[in-house]
Amino acid sequence: MYIKFTLSPYGWTRALMRWILRKETLMRVHTTFALVLFFIMQVGATSLAQPYITLKKENIKLREVFEEIKRQTDLTVFYSAKRVDDTRILNTSFQHADVKDVLAECLKGQPLTFEIKEKTIVIRHTPELGNNAAPKKGNKVLVSVYVEVRGRVVDSLGNPLVGASVRVLNAEGKRTTLQTTTDRDGYFLLRNVPEDAILEITFMGYKPIKRATNDDIGTIVLSASNSGLDEVMVIGYGTTTQRYNVGSVTTVKAEDIEKQPATNPLAALQGRVPGLTVTSTSGLPGSNYNLQIRGQNTLNSTLASVVPIDNPLFIIDGVPFSPQNRNVNQLMSIQSPGNSIISNNPYGGFSPFNSINPSDIESIEVLRDADATAIYGSRGGNGVILITTKKGKTGKADFQMDLSQGMSAVGKTMRMMNTQEYLMMRKEAITNGGLEPNLEQDSEGYAPDILLFDPNKETDWKEIFLGNNAQNTIANLSLSGGTANTQFRIGAGFNRNTYIYPGDLGDHRTSFLLNLNHVSNDKRFTIQFSSNYSYYKNNSSGNRNLLEAFKLDPNYPDLLDDNGNLVWTYEGIPLGRGGTLANPLSYLKNKYHVQNNNLTSNLQFIYEIISGLKARASFGYNTLYTDEYSGTPRAAINPILNTQASANFGTNNFNTWIIEPQIEYQKRVSKHFFHFLVGSTLQRDLNDRTLITGTGYVNDNLIESISAATTRNASDAFNEYRYAAIFSRLNYRFDNKYLVSLNARRDGSSRFGPGRRFGNFGSVGLGWLFTEENLLKNKIQFVSYGKLRGSYGVTGNDATSDYQYLSRWQTTLYTYDGTLGYIPQNLFNPSLSWASTKKLEVALELGFLKDRILLNAAYYKNRSGDQLVSYNLPKMTGFFNVAANWEATVQNSGIEVSLQSTNLQKGGFTWSSSFNLSIPKNKLLSFPGIESSSYLTRYVVGQSLNTVLGFKYAGVSEETGVFRFYDAEGNVTDSPRRPSSGRLNDYQNLGNLDPKFFGGFLNSFSYRNFQLDIFLEFRKQMGVNYMQQVYSGFPGSQMNLPAVLLDRWQSPGDQATHQKYSTQYNDVYNAASNFTKSDGAYSDASYIRFKTISLSYAFHSELLQRIKVNNLSVFCNAQNLFTKTNYLGNDPETQSIYGVPTLKTVVLGLQLNL
C-alpha cells in the first residue's frame, strides 16, 4: 500500500494518522516508524494553511454550502449549475473545519470532485472516476481531488530529456487517457490529474519510472536502461556518470551486496572490482579482510612472507572511517592469533567493518587512478573506497523487511590420521631415532599415547572442534519515503552468527541508520543528514591454541570426567607434556569478548547562491569505541602450571571529525560545460587505548570485574592525527565529446616534522567520446559508445604512525623498586616526509549494440618513489624498524578488463553477464644501496615485492629419507647455506606470491518471477601450502597429522613425498626447518569459487494486491558453496591448516515491501 500526501500538511498528517489507525492490527513497529516519521515530517512541513469555515445547519443545499464558503473565506467557487444536484439536502455540522474536508464531506457519494487552485475552487463532474473509485474501496470514503502536476525530466547528468512521455495511471495502476510529453527543456504540465494517481514517465533507452502525484513533482532523473553508462556514480566530492567520467571508478551496487549473506561489507567486494584484491584472514565471524587496490606500493616492514599491506582510504558518506581497515582489537583471541608461522595470519583480528550493516549500503565505489584519487591528496595513494548509504526517495513510503536464516560450515578439509595410522606413525617416528616408546618425560621417546592411552579409542577431534554448523540470522527493517521537500530513510538491522566451535560463541550486530534530506521551498537551501549507529559484540575464546585443538591424538582420553570437570591427568601421567595440548576444552573457558559502538554522522548544508553556484559545508563525525575482555579463570588453568587467574580489559577508542566547506560552480554555455569545485578539509583523528590487567582472582565468578583482582596494572596510549588541505577540481566538457578534468590539492599532515608537513598533489585527466564525432556517429551501427580516456597525476601517502619524527619516552607499566620508569619508544626521524605515487592510466571504453555490451579495458602504471616505509632494521639497533623515506621505486602496472552484456532478452527471459579480469604486475624498479640495506635477503631489484627467496627443494633422499635441496651451483645438498654476511648463499628466487590474474564472473538469469545469480570469483596465484605449517611443527611428535603424511620415507630406496618421521632434534628436524624455507612449502593456490549463488522468487502482483503487499519475494543465497582448486591444504584463500577456512554459508529468507 501507499501513503499519499496531499498539498496540505494538515491533510497529510491526517491521512497518515488515518493510515496508522487503520493498520493498528499490524505490528507495533509500524506505528513506531510512523510516529517517528510523523515527527520528522512535522519538522519539514511548510505552512500552506487552507482556510477554515464553520457551518452548522440542517437541510442545506450544496449550492448554499458553496455560497457559505465564499462568504466565510476569500475563495471563489466555480461550478456548473447544471451538474450540481440541487435537490440534494445535506446536514452539516462543521466547527472551524478545513474547507477541503467540508467539500469532501459534502461531495461524498456524488459524481463530483473539486480542485483548489490558489484562491479558486473548481467543482467538476466526473462520471467515470466518481462511479468507479468509490465502490472499490468498499465502505471507505475516497476523496477524489484533482491537481495540476508540473515537473521536469532529465538524465542523470541533469540534461533535459526532450519528448519523454508522461502517463497518468489510476490508483489501481491502469493507464488512463491522460498523458503528455516533455518540452524542449524537459518540462511537462498535466492538468486535472486525480490526486491519487500515479505518473509513469518513459523515455527510449531509459528505465521507466513511476511517481506519486504531487503538484510540483520536481525534477525526475531517468537512468539509462540498457547500460550503466548514465547511472549516477559517486566520486570524491561529487557524482558523475560513467559516460562522462575520465577516472577509473567501479561501483558495486546494493543489489549485488544484498544477494550475499555476508555480514561484513568488505566480503561483498570479493571478485567484484577489477584491480581490488580482497582476502579473508579467517572464516571465523568478525574476522578482518585484507584489501589492496592495484598492488603493493610500499616496502614491507616485516620479513615474514605474508600477504601485504597498503590499505585504501575508506570514506563513509563523506566521513573518513576512523579506524580505517585496522584491527580494532588489542587482545589476543582465536581471531587474532598473532604473528607466527603456525597461524600464518599476521593481519588477523577483528574488522572494524563489522559495525557497518551491508544492507544499509546503497553503493560502494572503488576509485583507482590519479583522476579519481588525486582529490584525496596525501591519503589517496593506495586508492579510495567510498561507501554510500541508502537515502530516502520522493514518493510513496516504502516499508521493507527482510529476514533470513541460514547455516555455515567448514568446507572440505584435509583428512587427519585415524588411531591406527596415528599410532603406527608415532611408533615409526620413535623407532627411526633408535629409541623405544617410554614414559620418561625427558626422553624423545616419551609416548603416553602409545603406552597408556586406549589404542582402540578413536575420536574425530576435527568433527568436534570444527565440525559444527554455525547459525546465521539476518533481519533488516526500513522505512523510506518523502515529499518533494523532505525525504527520509530509517533502517534497523540485526545480525547474529554463531561459531563452528562448541560452546556459546557468537557475534551479533544491531544497527540503525537515519538519512534525511530537506530542500527549502525555493529549492536553494538543502540540508542533508545521515547518522548510523551500531552495536557489535563478539564472544569467542581468548586462547589461540583452540585453533589447533583438532591436532589432538585420535586416541586421546576423554576431556571431561564423569562430573563434567576438565581432565588434566591420565593414569597418573600429566596430560599435555609431549607437545600436545593438555585439554583444549579449557580454551573455551578462556573467554574473550569484544564490543564495538560505532556512530557515523554527517551533516551537509548546501546553498545555491545564484543559479549554478553552490556553497556547501559538510560536517562529519565518526567514532568507534571498542571494549574488550579476555580472561583466564582458575577453571581454565592446568593445575600443573599453577598460574594465577587473570583478566585483561581493553578499550580502544577511535574518533574522527572532519569539516569540509566547498564552493561549486556549474555552467553550460552552448556546447561548453564547466564544473568547478574548490574546497578545504580539516580533519582530526584521535585514538586512545587503555589496557588493564588484573591478576590473582580468587573467585572465577568475579573475573569479569577489575575490582576483584588482587593486582592491577594499567597502561594507555594516545595518538592524534591532524590533516588540513585545500583542494580544487575543474571538469570541462565540450560538445559532450571532449572531457578534461583537473585536480589540485595542497595537504598538511601532522605526521611530519615542522617544515615538511605540506605537500602538493594533482592530476590531469582527458577523455574523448569518439563515437560522438560526426565522422563516426551513426556510421558504425554496432558501436554505440566509444571513449578513450587517460589520466596522469600524483597522489600521496602519509600512512605511517603518528609522532615518528620525535624521540619519545613513555612511562613503564610497572615500577622498579618504587620508581616508575621511562622507556624510549622509537627511533625517530626528523626528516620524515611524504611518499608520492605517480599514477598513469589509459583506457578504452566501448559499447556495442545500443550499449547491450559494454567493454572497459584499462592499462595502468603506478610508480611509488621516495617510499615512506617502516624501514626494517636489525634488532641490534634496539628497535625493529624506523619510519623512513626510502629511495626505492616500486612499480605496479597491469591490465584491467571488464565486460558487461545482456546476452538474451526474450519472452520474459533475460540473461546478462558481467565479467572482470585483472592482470597485475608488481616490480621493484630500483633500490639504490639494496646491498647495504636490511632488504638484501628480502627483495630483488626487477622482481615483485612479494618475491620469495629460499631454498630450491630437491625431494626426499632415497638413501637417508630426509629432505634435500639444491645449492646455488645446482648440486644436491643436505645442508643448504642460509644467507650470511650479505650473501644469499643457497637462497634462490622461488617466484612471487602476487596474484597472476584474478577476477569475477557474474551470470544473472531472470525468468518471469524467478531470478538466479551465479557469481564466480577466481584467482591465479602461488601460496603457502599445508607443508609449511606441518613442518614448522614436528611431524612425529605427539600430535595428529594430515593423513597425506602417510606417504613418507620408511626404508632406503623409498621414493616418498614426505621425509621420515622423527621425534628428535637432529638432522631430520633441521631438514624440516630448511624445508619450510624452500619452494616445497609453496605451491599453486589458484582457485575458482562459486562465491555467490542467489535464487529468488517474487510473488505475483495480483496475489500481493489481495494481501495488500507491494512486493514479496523469497530467496536462497549461498556463499562460497563450491571451490575448484588444486591447492595443497584446506583453503587457498586463508592458506592455513590451523586457521579456520572460509566458511560455506546457505541462507533462506524473505523480503517484504509494504
Partner: protein
C-alpha cells in the same frame, strides 16, 4: 537561518587562517621527548629505572629474567626439559638460527643496550644535571651496559658493539672481536667504578660502585688477567659492605648481605622469574625444568647445597629434582626474595681461582674453604695447582649452579666443554658452544656473519 551563507564562510575563514597551526599536534599524554627526560635527576632516575623494569618485566624466561639460567642450563649438563617445544633445541644443542627463543634473547639484550646508550647520551648531553648526578647516573648506565655485553659475548662470541643510538650507523655494524668487547666492558666498568660513589642511597637493587667492581673482577678472570681479578675481588670482599650469609636459605632473600646487585620484582605476582618457572607449587607435579643426574650426582651427599638449593618433586614414583635457590612461585604479601645478579660468594671463587692460577695455593684454599664451609663441607688443604684449579671449578659448578649461565660459561672459558658434553649430548659439536646469531638478524644486516656450525 537568516543568512545561510554564514554556514560556509565561517569554516572557510577558519581554515585559511589556521591551516599551518592546525597540523601541529601535542605529544600523547603519557609520553615526553628526550629533552625532558634528562632535565633533572628525578626524570633521569626514571629513565634508568625504566631499563630495570624492561629487563625484568618479561613475559617469559628472558635475557635478564631467568632465560640465561634456563637455556644455558639446558645446553650444558644442568637441566633438562619435560615440555616438548622449541626449547628442546637448547637441550639437544641443535639450536636453529630460526629459533625464536634465541632471537628473543638477542633482541631483548640489544633493546636494553639501546636504553642504556640512550641514557648515557642523554646524561652526557644534559646541561641541567649537576656533575654529581651525572656521574651517578652515568656510572650506573655503564655498569648495566657492561653487564649486558658480558652475557651477550658469552652466549654469541663476537657480537656487534653498539655504543650509540644512531641507527644509521648501527644497522650496518659487523661483529666485534670478543677481546674488543671485553676491552669495552672493562673500560666501562673502570669508568663506572670511578664515577659511582662508594656510598649511595641505593640498596642492592641498583648497580652501584661495588657492582661495577664485582663485575670487573669477573671480566678480569674471564680475560685471564688474574692479578687484576684478584685485586678487584679483594676490593669488593674487603669493603666489608657484604658478607657471606651463613644460612644457605638466606642467600637469596631480600635482605641478604651477600647480594651485591639484585633485581627487585617488577611484574605482579612474580617474586622471581626463576622461582615462577622452576618451582611447581605442588611437590608431586612434574616440573618443566629438571636437574640432570649429572649435576645431582656430582654433589657430595653432605653438601648442604644439595639439600637446600635443590628440591625433589616426586610424581608416580619418579623423582624430579629442581633448582630451589629461589623458592617462591608467586609473589608473597611482602617481597621476601631478591633475584641476585652478583653476589659475594662468586667474588671469593674468583679470587680463589686467580690465586690458584698465580700459584698462590694457600690463599686460594682459604677462599674456597669459606664457600665449602658454608655448604657444610670440610675444608681442603695441601693441593697442587692443577688439582686446585679443578677443585675450584667443581666448587663453582655447585655454588653457582643454575645461576646466570655460570656453568656453561665456565665450561667454555676453561676449554672443558667438549670433554664434558660429548659423552652426554649425542649431537655435540665443538661449534655448539656458541649460540647461533638469529637468522632474521643476519638477513637484515648484510655485514653480519653466522657462527660456525650453523650454515
Amino acid at each position: 537561518m537568516k543568512n545561510p551563507l554564514s554556514y560556509f564562510i565561517i569554516p572557510f575563514v577558519l581554515i585559511v587562517t589556521s591551516c599551518q597551526k592546525f597540523v601541529e599536534i601535542d605529544l600523547p599524554k603519557n609520553q615526553i621527548t628526550t629533552t625532558y627526560v634528562f632535565e633533572d635527576s628525578v626524570n633521569t632516575n626514571a629513565a634508568l629505572a625504566g631499563i630495570y623494569v624492561d629487563m625484568y618485566q618479561a613475559f617469559t624466561l628472558g635475557f635478564s629474567s631467568g632465560g640465561i639460567t634456563a637455556f644455558t642450563g639446558l645446553s650444558s649438563d644442568e637441566l633438562y626439559h619435560t615440555a616438548n617445544n622449541q626449547n628442546q633445541e637448547f637441550y639437544a644443542v641443535n639450536i636453529l638460527p630460526t629459533n625464536t627463543t634465541n632471537l628473543d634473547l638477542w633482541t631483548s639484550a640489544y633493546k636494553f643496550i639501546y636504553e642504556a646508550n640512550a641514557c648515557i647520551e642523554g646524561i652526557q648531553n644534559s646541561n641541567t644535571l649537576t656533575e654529581y648526578q651525572k656521574n651517578l647516573f652515568l656510572g650506573e648506565a655503564l655498569t648495566i651496559r657492561a653487564f649486558l655485553y658480558f652475557n651477550l659475548t658469552n652466549l654469541y662470541g663476537a657480537v656487534p658493539l653498539v655504543l650509540t643510538t644512531d641507527y644509521e650507523k648501527n644497522r650496518l655494524l659487523s661483529r666485534t672481536d670478543e677481546n674488543e668487547i671485553y676491552s669495552q666492558i672493562i673500560e666501562d666498568l673502570q669508568s663506572a667504578k670511578s664515577l659511582l660513589p662508594k656510598t649511595t642511597n641505593y640498596n642492592n637493587t641498583r648497580a652501584g660502585h661495588y657492582a661495577a667492581a664485582a663485575l670487573l673482577a669477573r671480566a678480569y678472570l674471564y680475560t685471564k688477567n688474574y692479578d687484576a681479578a684478584k685485586d678487584e675481588a679483594s676490593y669488593v670482599i674487603n669493603s666489608q659492605r657484604f658478607a657471606i650469609e651463613s644460612d644457605l636459605n638466606g642467600v637469596f632473600k631480600a635482605h641478604s648481605k651477600e647480594i651485591i646487585w639484585g633485581f627487585a620484582p617488577v611484574s605482579p605476582g612474580r617474586e622471581t622469574w626463576e622461582g615462577y618457572y622452576f618451582v611447581p607449587t605442588s611437590t608431586t607435579a612434574v616440573p618443566t625444568y629438571v636437574i640432570t643426574d649429572e649435576l645431582l650426582n656430582s654433589f657430595d651427599d653432605n653438601d648442604l647445597r644439595k639439600h637446600n638449593w635443590i628440591r625433589v618433586n616426586t610424581n608416580d614414583g619418579t623423582d624430579y629434582p629442581i633448582p630451589y635457590k629461589y623458592k617462591l612461585n608467586a609473589m608473597q604479601t611482602s617481597v621476601s626474595e631478591r633475584y641476585s645478579v652478583l653476589r659475594l660468594a662468586e667474588q671469593y671463587l674468583i679470587r680463589a681461582e686467580a690465586h690458584a692460577y698465580l700459584n698462590e695455593i694457600s690463599p686460594a684454599e682459604d677462599d674456597v674453604n669459606i664457600i665449602k664451609g658454608r655448604a657444610g663441607l670440610l675444608p681442603v688443604s695441601g693441593n697442587i695447582q692443577p688439582g686446585l684449579i679443578d677443585l675450584i671449578q667443581q666448587e663453582r659448578r655447585w655454588e653457582m649452579m643454575c645461576e646466570w649461565g655460570h656453568r656453561w660459561f665456565d665450561l667454555k672459558r676453561t676449554g672443558l666443554i667438549d670433554e664434558t658434553l660429548t659423552p652426554i649430548k649425542p649431537n655435540w659439536r665443538p661449534t655448539a658452544q656458541l649460540f647461533p646469531i638469529p637468522q632474521t638478524e643476519i638477513d637484515s644486516n648484510p655485514n653480519l656473519s653466522q657462527n660456525d656450525g650453523y650454515n
